[in-house]
């Protein structure tokens, strides 16, 4: 290779400075940074300057309950999603590629189906006189309809269903990277299937569980439609509360403050994950 050509690779052709990045920066600034700042501004100025909105949210027992409930639902949904997604992801990771891609297609297809449609479908299934209760009663398994809707159970079922693909996809990636021979080696070393899972498969799939889990948790924190339709009034979530504050009470300041608190919590979780993944990388490369 000629010297000139080598230099051509070494020195980038883009001129120094950020000139070339300007359009992208304007776009991000205008549509992402400015709205967030406006939100923050509103939360400390509406109806009057000061932190009274935050004080109200964090000091009031009713709001605290909504925050607690939001985190509870997000946590329960995340845990159940991990438990349901893991076997599915493992199956997809080890099954023949053709079959796996068909199943993948079905899972993706469910993601593309309208969210409202899917949630209403769950209402039909879960209500007192719904398909599930009638089938169980018809089979003589239960006498009274199970309370499957307008409570935490309903929200969890509906949201787990919607969140599953977001958990399965990163998990399959992580599981596919694990050499099945590693598990055979563990078996010959004397590890029972349970021990091999606990000591080998689970630790190795943690990055995928963490990535999918964080995504599910963060999405669940801000979810609106499903909790609103399948949940009860006693366990309202933050997004519903924000909607109520703004739509019914026209209290933009309080709504903005609640949204901003949600944003800060989300970012803190993201930072935590970056830190955990970063720590893994440094020890992994030592």
């Amino acid at each position: 290779m000629s010297v000139e050509a080598q230099q051509g690779i070494a020195t980038p052709r883009i001129p120094a400075g950020l000139g070339g990045l300007l359009p992208a920066l304007i776009l991000i600034g205008l549509f992402f940074v400015v709205p967030v700042l406006a939100l923050l501004l509103r939360s400390v100025t509406d109806p009057a300057p000061g932190l009274q909105n935050y004080a109200a949210l964090l000091g009031d027992g009713t709001y605290a309950r909504v925050f607690f409930n939001t985190f509870l639902v997000a946590a329960v949904v995340t845990i159940v999603t991990v438990l349901v997604a893991f076997p599915v992801a493992w199956m997809l990771a080890i099954m023949p590629p053709v079959l796996a891609s068909i199943l993948f297609g079905i899972i993706i297809l469910s993601m593309w189906t309208n969210l409202l449609t899917r949630t209403y479908a769950w209402m039909v299934l879960l209500q007192r006189t719904g398909v599930i209760n009638r089938a169980l009663m018809g089979a003589g398994i239960i006498d009274q309809p199970l309370p499957l809707i307008n409570n935490l159970t309903g929200v969890t079922i509906g949201m787990v269903y919607i969140m599953l693909p977001f958990m399965i996809l990163p998990l399959v990636g992580t599981l596919r990277a694990i050499d099945p021979m590693t598990l055979r080696a563990a078996a010959l070393c004397g590890a029972s299937p349970l021990a091999a899972f606990r000591r080998i498969l689970l630790p190795l799939s943690l990055p995928g569980i963490a990535a999918g889990g964080l995504m599910v948790f963060v999405m669940s924190l801000g979810y609106f439609v499903t909790p609103a339709l399948l949940g009860g009034t006693s366990n309202m979530m933050l997004a519903e509360m924000i909607a109520q504050m703004i739509q019914s009470l026209l209290n933009w300041g309080l709504g903005s403050a609640a949204a901003f608190i949600l944003l800060v919590v989300t970012m803190a979780l993201y930072a935590l994950q970056l830190r955990l993944v970063g720590a893994r990388r440094t020890t992994g490369g030592a």
Binding site: M181, R184, A185, L188, C189, G190, S192, A196, G285
Partner: protein
């Protein structure tokens, strides 16, 4: 006769219509280093996997000290194994990888520590205990895998082409390690490879597999010097096959006619041949001599090429029937210019030549 340590009884494995292993029967005494050698798809790995418990045989049995292993799941067979690919646990340090089999057996901490130290000393990786596998070379990883497989003193160690991912120099280095470890531990080793040199170098005995059957089993010398079939002769070492017509066999010694019309007597016959039957005569490249000796047969050839290979020269020659043969005299046996002349006779001991059906 004492009971064999490990016994494979009429082991058969079929995948649908394809039979990978045909009724393999084999007895392995304690402490033996036995190699399954053969081309890929010959059934050697399938046999090993049946012993490991990764594949259920269609029929037959595997007995360890007279007890069947087949109903025992892999994790209770107490067998050590080193795999072709690196199968160290990537999230555990070298020491924890070696400790793993002991930890799942819930051995006391003091014993685990002592055993890990012993094993790392055995494979000479004492200074790498805290490293993660990714920070080791391929050769080091396989040594850790060896330490892990031996940590719980398994009666049998299975090795499935453990050196195939390594380069030649490293391979030879670890072969020496494996020999030393076999000597020091006395563990019974079943080793799978497609590399005949590796098999000859390492094993007490070699079972040569072909199409799911054992073609011949014996020491490396048996297979090299006394092959029973042309497949064995062709697979182990280098060999020349000359077209020949069988004339008669008296007391195990055959007389044949080569393509150029020369008669040769005193050939080792493998099996019986009819007079006039077309056969092939196998002669090892190093069995050819450039000087006449008593009782040697003579073959006139045309020298095509001479190459220097260090301890030996490699001569490519063509017989008068037009067949190319490979001759490997020691370099000291001649000066290059001596053989550069185009036509000359070469000689071989008929007792070192073998007759096979064509």
């Amino acid at each position: 006769m004492t009971q064999p340590f490990l016994s494979i009884r009429k082991l058969r494995k079929a995948f649908g219509a394809f039979t990978a292993v045909h009724d393999v029967t084999l007895d392995i005494p304690k402490g033996e280093f036995l190699t399954f050698l053969g081309p890929s798809g010959s059934g050697k790995s399938t046999t090993l996997y049946a012993i490991a418990g990764f594949q259920d045989p269609t029929s037959g049995d595997v007995l360890l000290q007279d007890k069947s292993l087949l109903s025992v799941p892999s994790h209770k067979r107490n067998i050590g194994m080193v795999f072709q690919r690196y199968t160290l646990f990537p999230h555990l340090s070298v020491a924890e990888n070696v400790a793993f089999p002991l930890r799942v057996r819930r051995r006391p901490e003091a014993e685990v520590k002592r055993k890990v130290a012993d094993m790392l000393a055995l494979v000479r990786l004492e200074n790498f205990a805290e490293r993660l596998p990714a920070a080791l070379s391929g050769g080091q990883q396989q040594r850790v895998a060896l330490a892990r497989a031996l940590a719980y003193d398994p009666p049998i160690l299975l090795m499935d082409e453990p050196l195939s991912a390594l380069d030649k120099k490293l391979r030879e280095e670890i072969q020496a390690e494996i020999r030393r470890i076999h000597r020091e531990t006395g563990v019974t080793i079943l080793y799978v490879t497609h590399d005949q040199e590796e098999a000859l170098h390492l094993s007490d005995r070699i079972a040569l597999f072909r199409d799911g059957r054992i073609e011949q089993i014996g020491t490396g010398e048996d297979l090299y010097l006394r092959p029973t079939t042309d497949f064995v002769a062709g697979f182990i070492g280098n060999s020349n096959f000359l077209a020949a017509e069988h004339l008669e066999t008296v007391g195990g010694a055959s007389t044949i006619r080569l393509a150029d019309g020369a008669l040769v007597s005193g050939i080792n016959a493998n099996g019986s041949f009819a007079p006039g039957q077309k056969t092939r005569l196998m002669i090892r490249p190093e069995a050819f001599r450039l000087e006449r000796s008593p009782n040697n047969a003579e073959l006139s050839v045309e020298i095509v090429d001479v190459a220097f290979y260090g301890e030996r020269r490699r001569i490519v020659a063509r017989t008068s029937a037009g067949q190319e043969i490979d001759i490997r005299p020691t370099s000291a046996a001649l000066a290059a210019q001596d053989v550069a002349s185009s036509h000359r006779p070469v000689f071989f001991d008929p007792g070192a030549a073998f007759l096979f059906p064509a």
